[in-house]
Amino acid sequence: MALDYDKSDPVNLGALCPRGHYNIEMVNHPGRLTEPQIGKRKVSWEEAVAFIRQELKLFNKEEIGCLVSCLLSNESALAAARLAQALGIKNILTAGAAADLEAYEGNKWEVPGANLATLESLEQSEALLVVGDILSRAPVLSKRLNKVKYGKRGNKIIVIDPNSTHTSWFATNHLVCRPGTEAVVLAALAGELPYPAAENISGVPAVKLQQAAEAFRAATAGTVIYVPQSKKQRSDLAVYYAKKLAAASDNKRYLVYYLFGNTLGVNTIIDREAPDHPTYHELLAKIDRGEIKSLLMFGEDISAGHAELQKRFRMLKFVVFAGHFESESPAIYDNSIILPLATQFEGGGSYLLADGMIASCQPVVPGAGSETLAKICGLLAYINVGSQDGAECVGRGLISKIKNEGEALAELKTIEPAESTPGKPITYFGNNHLVSNFFWYQVNKGG
């Protein structure tokens, strides 16, 4: 296998980020799982499927829970939902990053006139409003960011972030707010909150807020990019006000850049197929009360490396999940079964991207064990596609109560900034060999 660069690709223009490069290692990795395991014992596919069927018969339908990973393709998510329907399981829900799920809740509130941004509109926009660090999430967008910054004189890149990040290097206006108050700044920019009130909560000077708001309003085309991050920043409210900002005029658009690729698609499908599914915290409470005794995870083990979830999951009697490598989990769940997971190069499917377009992927290499997989599609055909941990979900309450504008404003006033840690000034080129040879460094540092 080899990597090459396709300059004609519309999304990445022939550039791969490090994650894309290193993904290819997974395919032929010597430590990769190729056979199912029960506990620590390696078994054949037939035995594994027979074991799962036999174990699932021991439980009622209400005692089985299903977690669908946010990295599944649309087809796999649909199949998982249909499988749950066929088995009569009602405890089915998606598992992803907590911030992603929270942002999706905000995405559900309808704002008339708010349009999703596309790649073309991103390039043509004259003002970008970025919340969070988009460049460490998606370095591939940096070419388009540079096009906005250097394309025309007067173009603005406004970044809202408490930290100085890779993205804030590119900013023309960097609004340094207190941690957790991004939603307040967005509301002020959208004109929903007076500037002095926003200054009190977020700590951004009212003058800077006004400058940024006027610059964004004056631009002929603009895009709001929101990046959900795992801080206490109320992603749902932030997405709501990002939509408000985009709805103010026809040429403004918005984009929510989820951490897990197919969060939008999987959530939409599960909401449609199983409308009355429980929330994440209701499911965890059911596990605590002992109402759920076995768990099917369509995707990777979400409790990997998460001690609190592992403690809860140890109360379960039977767990099914998939993985690329041998994890510590089989030692924890004696009665669990772990199935080998296909990499992104092996599993094809269609994905709903952040800009609302559907992209279909073809498998690049023949999958490990794909022939044996075909035999078990009666019960577990789609368990072979992957996920990351959605483990941080535990610490956060996902609030989806808000339905109208007045409630959103009332919620906004309750936001308290998280404790800000006094940051030390970042010296970008400090003790570098290269820099220490420049004359100005010697002048500045005295030697």
């Binding site: 990597l3 791969l16 490069h21 370095p139 940096s142 993205t167 970042i426 060999h433």
Partner: protein
């Protein structure tokens, strides 16, 4: 005139995909130096100097200036004394202390032979890296090596 790799600091977003691409071309060992601070992850490319200090410092003639004006390191002659990394005025040659090797950029000779550009330039997500002749760079003032970003750091405030 030979072509060299140039970095535009104004465009670079520090994603390190150049290092990843380099590692894939060279047996999973990146030959790129990086500025070694937590915040800045800018690549430091070998400049392939006209009068290289590393070749003068090498006791075993492992570093050599070739006929096509590239400076290459012979891994069989190298004894791992790290004299070259001390001698290099740009801090580009950074020894790997765990693996006991001294990686050194070879401009992706295998790709150059096929008329292609080096891997790091091909994969650069932001378009900051360019593979061009020295004269072009001097003419194009937008791509000066000491850029606005660096000067603004000198003044003590960001743009």
């Amino acid at each position: 005139m030979a072509k060299r790799i140039y970095l535009n600091l104004d465009l670079c977003c520090g994603c390190k995909s150049c290092a990843a691409a380099c590692a894939y071309g060279h047996h999973l060992q990146s030959l790129l130096g990086h500025s070694k601070l937590s915040a800045a992850e800018l690549p430091l490319h070998c400049l392939h100097c006209d009068q290289p200090a590393c070749t003068a410092a090498c006791p075993n003639e492992a570093m050599k200036k070739m006929e096509d004006a590239t400076v290459l390191r012979s891994q069989y002659r190298c004894v791992g004394c790290r004299s070259c990394s001390v001698a290099c005025p740009f801090g580009v040659i950074q020894p790997d202390l765990e693996k006991h090797i001294t990686p050194k950029c070879d401009l992706c000779l295998d790709r150059l032979a096929e008329g292609d550009i080096p891997r790091c330039v091909a994969t650069c997500t932001s378009g900051a890296l360019s593979f061009a002749e020295v004269d072009e760079q001097v003419v194009d003032k937008n791509k000066n090596l000491i850029s606005v970003r660096m000067l603004s750091n000198f003044v003590g405030r960001r743009r």
